[in-house]
Assembly symmetry: C2
Homo-oligomer: 370 residues x 2
Amino acid sequence: MNRRAFLALGGAATVLAGCEGPQPRPARPLTATQSGEPTLRWRMTSSFPRALDTLFGGAERVARRVGELTDGAWSIHVYPAGELIPSLQVLDAVQQGTVECGQTASYYYLGKDPALAFDACVPFDMTARQKTAWLLEGGGLELLNERFAAFGVRTFPAGNTGAQMGGWFRNPVTGLNDLKGLKVRVPGMGGEVMSRLGASVQNIPGGELFTALQMGAIDAAEWVGPHDDEKLGFHKVVQHYHYPGFWEPGPNLSVYVNERAWSSLPAAWKEIFRAACLETVTWMLARYDALNPPALARIRAAGVTVAPFPDEVLREARAATEAILEGHAAADEGYRKVYTSWKSFMEPSSAWLGLAELAYARFQAGGAGG
Amino acid sequence: MNRRAFLALGGAATVLAGCEGPQPRPARPLTATQSGEPTLRWRMTSSFPRALDTLFGGAERVARRVGELTDGAWSIHVYPAGELIPSLQVLDAVQQGTVECGQTASYYYLGKDPALAFDACVPFDMTARQKTAWLLEGGGLELLNERFAAFGVRTFPAGNTGAQMGGWFRNPVTGLNDLKGLKVRVPGMGGEVMSRLGASVQNIPGGELFTALQMGAIDAAEWVGPHDDEKLGFHKVVQHYHYPGFWEPGPNLSVYVNERAWSSLPAAWKEIFRAACLETVTWMLARYDALNPPALARIRAAGVTVAPFPDEVLREARAATEAILEGHAAADEGYRKVYTSWKSFMEPSSAWLGLAELAYARFQAGGAGG
């Protein structure tokens, strides 16, 4: 949406006063007006640009479904990153009530509270399936919402990319030595881990990655997976595509809602919002699973070598991750509570999913003897 | 629910005439009556008994969520297998309009149309994640609903167990020879495959399995996975628990809706029903993923040996499966259309999920070198 369209919308949209939070709502606005106009209008800002059509598409889908499930009585207008609110200020904007809700990834806010990262992912986190199970049925979401309560915000699982790729390398990574001094772009905690392995971690915005890689300013860059990576064109400048992206093995995307806006909703609309988000967890993964396979085939056809990171890289990276997490847990009781729940869910879960599920996936992938 | 309670409910519930289908509904029953009574009452019959709390729990959850999302205006009463309709007659009951909807697994009806099995699973089918992706984003659900249209029924994905276990064996399966003449209980197409491998397949209801295994009437039995199996007590009589259950690597559970009942719903309620089902896909898998790990640990602690089927068993079983599927596809153009879509989605999907997702799961399970 361009600036003009945004301004045009301003008259109809509920424009909220900066720090006063959303206005009170009628108790049961369960139907559209007689003329078919919404009785409730919300705004959702996203951390993602439109170009990340599957990530940003998750925000659009939540909004669309809220409209469909309320027969048009509740309208949510979605803004991509930067149009209304900068990409990494979604938590602030929802906290302050500038918007009623926002779509983001909670690891962006670990500077405010390192425990929030468990809502999205930390390196060597659970897979998408495990993360969803922990959040919904393992008490994870409840614990995280205790942390988010300090911001006057409530978080809802609303998407997952599945295990991401490890990224694009000018030269193949054959062992730990190949990482020493390597100029890599890996954001957040993944970058912290790479740095502990000897890499020189660069902080470069997504939009500048292709040029940085092409011009040799960096030796390696990670983004998401085949579908999103292909659009940035990395395969045109470097030839080695490594996996897995151990820093994002199953990141959960979140929708935050301002607590006062939430409490003003009628009960059925709270459940409708929850449903729209939860549906979108399934939708986003399904969408990626439909889009990534043909993108991977095209990337391979372009001559790219697709290869796993050596085991020693994964082992050292996991050890570095554990040191970081244990450090936080030792320093902060609140963090430790989330960390302990997360760890004690993941370990038996991995033992279980390492049987039938793993044996079958391995056979299916042609590696039955592996 | 006992018979008396059912009869008591009869007065309030909409009792439909056998083959006339549901009665017409008002166009927009979007709110409960002023006294808080539902304005629409449906009945859902399930193929599963209450004891399968996670499978049957899926039906209960869909009904509960429909109530919550409509603020109590739409009530669905759920009946476990046999209380209203026999377990394997859900399709018939929904088709005839005896109930408006039903929860089941579509492979129960392959005698009516073998292509319906792809809605649940065939042996060596996709994993849960792949199946959901194919149904939602790969055109699978649309193709299947063309088949279900012949029954005046519409199917909705509404649950998944994940990859099941291969079952309980008196003696370990160390190779194909161990299957020759073995008296096993594996229902449906899985049984047909086991039979082609030389096993003597027995047809025994779930409720009689424990006794049959205990008394030596059978040598092996499969059920679901640790959580459900533990309740039947198999680990008390035999000691070898094999995996994976290659006949159910990711079965989708379905909710069927009678087409006339569906078409009488207001648009928003159609979307609410769809959301309640789709949410339940995520919920059921998460619930199993929370319940199976501790059940597995208890089963192991009881001294059970948990081991994979040998590769030669999986390879032969897959070859037998392919022969069966190709036979159907050669004989029936409608089947071939579904089969071709299914196969052409699964192959590149397995290649993609065999990279980052599999490498990570393997490392997580401690088999990084495998």
